[in-house]
């Protein structure tokens, strides 16, 4: 299935891209992140557990895991700092 992935702020800069479409068999958010990291650098570090990383699924913040379905929008970014 196809997942639309967006990257913001420091994660976007580390990866040198703001979005991509990704074909995957992974059915969970945790599985997807692991698969993206396994592409090697810069994903390995940018999506690694060394730095605080937040995720959203279909534009809602997710803490922990969630199920994925075809066409979902996933986003990775650092903790937010607005206001």
């Amino acid at each position: 299935m196809q997942i639309h992935i967006k990257y913001f702020a420091s994660v976007r800069e580390a990866l040198g891209r703001s979005s991509e479409s990704w074909e995957t068999q992974q059915t969970t958010l945790v599985g997807l992140r692991k698969e993206l990291q396994e592409r090697g650098e810069p994903w390995q570090t940018a999506l690694g557990s060394e730095q605080p990383l937040r995720a959203a699924l279909n534009q809602a913040m997710v803490h922990g895991d969630a199920d994925l379905k075809d066409g979902d929008e996933v986003a990775y970014f650092p903790p937010v700092t607005g206001g």
């Binding site: 913001f8 913040m61 700092t81 206001g83």
Partner: protein, 158 residues
């Protein structure tokens, strides 16, 4: 509750926004507003400017969610939330949260709740420029704690 949510690069005029928020609302006996501005971060280095990034779509959704939560907790008649994005300079206005209510207590509390929520739940990111380069601002645990005072888990900085 009437809500006006705007994400924009241009500046805003507080008087104009408050007049617009209050217009035609005769039940309102209290207006409370908060304006966040670009400041020195106390790192010893002058902040030359700032760049604000956000997640279009999710931002508006997060702010609409927080306005709904505020209206469930407090007696709020109307709310305006404006957040600027793009390049900003020292002393510039960044964010406006304004609410109307029949009474001051609800107005004060709703305004503070909305800001505490926005700080840790709305997808904005600040990048500061100083003479030695630009860097992303770190999230603060004290902002998580501010939201937790309202009984809402922030889970942003930590």
């Amino acid at each position: 509750m009437q809500t006006n949510i705007r994400i924009q690069t241009q500046d805003f005029d507080v008087s104009t926004e408050l007049a617009s928020l209050r217009a035609g609302e005769r039940r309102a006996g209290a207006v409370c507003c908060f304006v966040g501005t670009v400041r020195e971060m106390g790192t010893g280095q002058a902040v030359l400017g700032m760049e604000l990034e956000h997640y279009p779509g999710m931002t508006e959704r997060a702010i609409a969610d927080m306005a709904k939560l505020a209206s469930e907790r407090f007696e709020v008649l109307g709310a305006t939330v404006i957040h600027r994005i793009g390049p900003l300079l020292p002393e510039d206005q960044i964010v406006l949260v304004a609410v109307t209510s029949p009474h001051r207590r609800d107005a004060f509390q709703a305004c503070e709740f909305l800001m505490d929520y926005l700080k840790t739940q709305a997808p904005f990111w600040k990048k500061e420029a100083t003479a030695s380069g630009s860097q992303w601002v770190d999230a603060r645990e004290s902002d998580d704690e501010a939201l937790q005072r309202w009984g809402v888990q922030a889970r942003n900085a930590s």
